[in-house]
Symmetry: C2
Subunit: 221 residues, 2 copies
DNA sequence: GCTATCTGATAGTGCCACTATCTATGATGG
DNA sequence: CCATCATAGATAGTGGCACTATCAGATAGC
């Protein structure tokens, strides 16, 4: 198909598709003449993936480019890509926490994280960005006077393990080997959005049941 | 204290503090003379909250302004604020899903969500933004060929309920009534970041245990 | 008095995800 | 074969966002 049809099918404007190609998110179409290119199913599928990671996953274009490069790299063994891909899918990584990294809250949080990982027997490296994110979040909690939140960390970790098991089981059960890497990326990123939404629904329900009311239906506007 | 000390204590630049005041995130200091204002403990605490919601929670300045206004509104009954506050803390709400909202994937997703809410007996209104987010995420899954992901939704929901229960228990146990609203906001937003990080750690661990390896330590850079 | 700091205001910056416009070329149809 | 349309590729511009720079005028504290 040509770029116009690709655009129509996916709802992505033609200039945006060209932009994605420029940024390396989408391979260029196969040139059939100097100014004609044809796009296939794989382009359509990739485009939908890009929009999902952008719109639902909230990832940045540059991050998506990295992840897609990893997905397309079929040289490295599957399990290594799984690990690397899962590693890269963090929040915004600034790496600018140089001075804030040495205050009391950060040191406490780091200890809490190290302790948790040990207690859980988690096979994860300290350099995993997720560990840094966790430290950052717990340090912020601490600074806001909620250091006691660490008491519920194990409840959170139980739930996280349950979700991770469900993800792995899904991938094992439903996904062909050739699509596994992509499925893990989708599951990690979109699964996060799914869980966050479920958590907020459960939150409203739990507080409704406790306080005997239900969430405001009206968003006035 | 004056604005300079507030800046030094929190690490937030003076012009940025002024910007937050302009945007309504932070109440202005109490004027002691036409060009001198004094800031108190509450300003420092509020400023830390703002930075946490921004840096860790990834919220936008305008969203934070809304939430803080709700926190400061002491007129409405506590449980209503809890519901409203929890409602507002979603992802980026675009409301522009008008045409994409009527395709097959979206309709399927909406049915799945309605079914889930009924099955769970969740007391939540359909207009809850979280429900829309969930629908959006599931529709994206569907379009990517992962409609079977709905099979693990109940595992996710179990985990979400567990997390919600832990949150409520924490607030009940640790937080004074006057700080409850703020604590719920913190718990919802920062707790999300905490859980997402834990989920990624658990993910790496689970795949490490299954595939007998551990995540790449090296992020080459 | 003198200098550092402050308030309040306006304008500018850098990043990001597009989006508009242009040229030259080829596709398509009567 | 010629008018019209779509396309590739390139460059520049847009709008949103979170700041950040600069300034004028006033005050603090020595």
């Amino acid at each position: 198909m040509r770029i116009g049809e690709l655009s129509r099918r996916t709802g992505v404007p033609v200039p945006t598709i060209k932009y994605y190609v420029r940024e390396g998110l989408l391979p260029p179409g196969e040139l059939t003449s100097p100014n004609q290119a044809s796009y296939g199913e794989s382009h359509e599928r990739r485009l939908r993936l890009i929009r999902a990671l952008l719109d639902v996953g909230g990832m940045k274009v540059a991050e998506i480019a990295d992840v897609l490069t990893a997905i397309d790299d079929r040289d490295r063994p599957l399990h290594k890509v799984l690990g690397a891909a899962a590693d890269r899918l963090g929040a915004d990584h600034d790496d600018q926490a140089d001075d804030a990294d040495t205050d009391g809250a950060s040191r406490t949080a780091r200890a809490v994280v190290a302790d948790l990982v040990t207690r859980r027997g988690w096979r994860t490296h300290e350099s995993n960005p997720a560990a840094a994110d966790l430290t950052k979040a717990l340090a912020a909690m601490d600074r806001l006077g909620h250091s006691a939140f660490t008491d519920v960390l194990d409840d959170y970790a139980d739930a996280a393990e349950q979700v991770a098991r469900a993800d792995l089981a899904y991938v094992d059960r439903e996904v062909a080997v050739e699509d596994m890497v992509e499925a893990v990326v989708i599951g990690t990123v979109l699964g996060e959005a799914v869980f966050n939404a479920l958590r907020r629904l459960a939150h409203v329900d739990a507080s409704a049941k406790r306080y005997g009311t239900q969430g405001q239906p009206g968003t006035p506007g």
